[in-house]
């Protein structure tokens, strides 16, 4: 799905938020070695300071250790993800992926030109692009932009505005630190694409 595509952010914040997706093509290259390959990809992510990594049903860094997540990989897993907060780590991960040459499709989410620059730096050439043309329709039903910047980091929309409000209250009351609050918000995102570092900064602004 398009679960990493429509993240809402300002230009500066986009520069601190990149997601690499690794997806086998079902019926074409998800062969008997696919689980081992996906584990290898997660291992590459782990080496390059990911903000998050994981996949549906295998856990993510806010509910599991990387070692456990990698152990949980199963052959029918649709894809794995790694989230990075700067270009340097993204490019380094892409270079490793290129060198390993495992033949599985690699996708990067982020600002289109920024991703293109990173691709060039890693020695890669773009194959195809998916552009977000934004949010349409009855936008009066949306929460305030800052809340949307947090909720839109989970494409499945599992993070509620009321949970953000509760976390803000918990921080104000001294029940949680901002870091703990951001980590709590990351938990419902079962794919592991939530950028809790970015969420922490937004929470600071909201508080």
């Amino acid at each position: 799905m398009t679960h990493t595509l429509h993240r809402v952010a300002n230009l500066e914040d986009f520069k601190e938020d990149y997601v690499i997706l690794v997806m086998p093509a079902k019926g074409i290259n998800n062969d008997e070695n696919i689980a081992e390959k996906l584990k290898k990809f997660l291992g590459i992510f782990e080496r390059h300071n990911p903000v998050n990594l994981g996949g549906i049903g295998i856990g993510h860094l806010y509910d599991s250790k990387a070692e456990q997540i990698i152990d949980n990989v199963y052959s029918e897993l649709p894809m794995v993800h790694g989230v990075f907060s700067n270009r340097e780590d993204l490019v380094a991960a892409l270079k490793d992926i290129k060198d390993e040459d495992m033949g599985i499709s690699i996708i990067v989410s982020g600002l289109v030109d920024s991703v293109d620059c990173c691709a060039k730096e890693a020695g890669l050439k773009r194959h195809s692009v998916n552009y977000s043309l934004g949010i349409w329709g009855d936008k009066a039903r949306l929460p305030d932009e800052k809340y949307l910047e947090i909720t839109s980091m989970c494409g499945h929309a599992m993070i509620s505005v009321n949970l953000i409000k509760k976390m803000i209250n918990d921080v104000k009351k001294g029940i949680k630190t901002i870091e703990q609050a951001a980590a709590e918000l990351a938990k419902p995102c079962v794919c592991g694409i939530f950028n809790a570092e970015k969420a922490q900064k937004i929470l600071e602004e909201l508080i």
């Binding site: 289109v112 977000s132 329709g137 949306l142 499945h156 993070i159």
Partner: protein, 248 residues
């Protein structure tokens, strides 16, 4: 979903987790507004109910579509691949599958209900009817596609029109020359849709590293420089072109 009224101790711990804001505190226990609940399961998975009062009920059609389109673990039984999630491999494996393999075609993905508002299929039908006049090919592995019972009119299965889901994607391929008119057609019904939706366009990148739909998108007033995107890096194997050659 349901709250077991005999077990619930009214601690309200589950209330803030609901993205649809449909778990409401009552006098003695919390209640789920089933009309608004999309069966996403987040209350059951994440709120850590201290008395296990949150229960997944057995769902039959038409309500079962709610879970399939809203719970990330929900499976779609109406398509060959029976995958989890709401969309397809689309651009993600395009280097291998070749869903968009020429520069003169593009794919459009319109996700009703996103971000976080939810949608009913009757809103989705406003979009499918708006684009029905174009020469489009719906993505067969998208779980919405089988519910579009008449591709020529855009009519959606009447049984599910009032069902509410977290989101669902209308996904199709079209000639790139029709792209501007398709976007205009969607724009023309925007104010009739009673929810939000996101729009995405997928295209191939040419030999000079230029995405084939870029000019059309920019010339129609969309700012792509400040927006999110997904880029396929062309590392999947076998490439679509090689698979086709091998098959010949």
């Amino acid at each position: 979903m349901q709250i077991n009224q005999d077990k619930c101790i009214n601690c309200k711990k589950c209330v803030p987790y609901c993205p649809m804001e449909c778990i409401n505190p009552g006098e003695k226990s919390v209640q789920i507004d089933l009309e608004e609940c999309v069966e996403c399961g987040i209350c059951l998975r994440n709120s850590n109910c201290p008395v296990n009062a949150i229960e997944q009920t057995f769902l039959t059609m038409p309500r079962a579509v709610r879970k399939a389109f809203s719970d990330p673990f929900g499976k779609h039984e109406n398509i060959e691949v029976k995958h989890m999630g709401r969309g397809t491999e689309e651009i993600k494996t395009n280097d291998v599958t070749g869903i968009i393999h020429t520069l003169d075609e593009a794919a459009v993905a319109i996700e009703l209900g996103r971000p976080g508002v939810g949608a009913r299929f009757r809103d989705m039908e406003k979009i499918t009817k708006a684009v029905a006049k174009f020469d489009i090919v719906y993505e067969k592995n998208n779980p919405v596609t089988p519910y579009i019972i008449d591709k020529k009119t855009g009519e959606i299965e009447p049984e599910i029109l009032n069902e509410k889901i977290m989101s669902g994607i209308v996904e199709f391929r079209a000639k790139i020359d029709d792209l501007a008119e398709i976007l205009k057609a969607v724009k023309s019904v925007e104010d009739k849709v009673e929810t939000v939706f996101t729009v995405a366009v997928i295209c191939k990148v040419d030999e000079n590293n230029k995405p084939s739909a870029e000019d059309i998108i920019v010339n129609n007033g969309f700012s792509i420089r400040a927006a999110s995107s997904k880029t396929n890096m062309g590392l999947g194997r076998p490439l679509y072109e090689d698979r086709i050659k091998g098959a010949k």
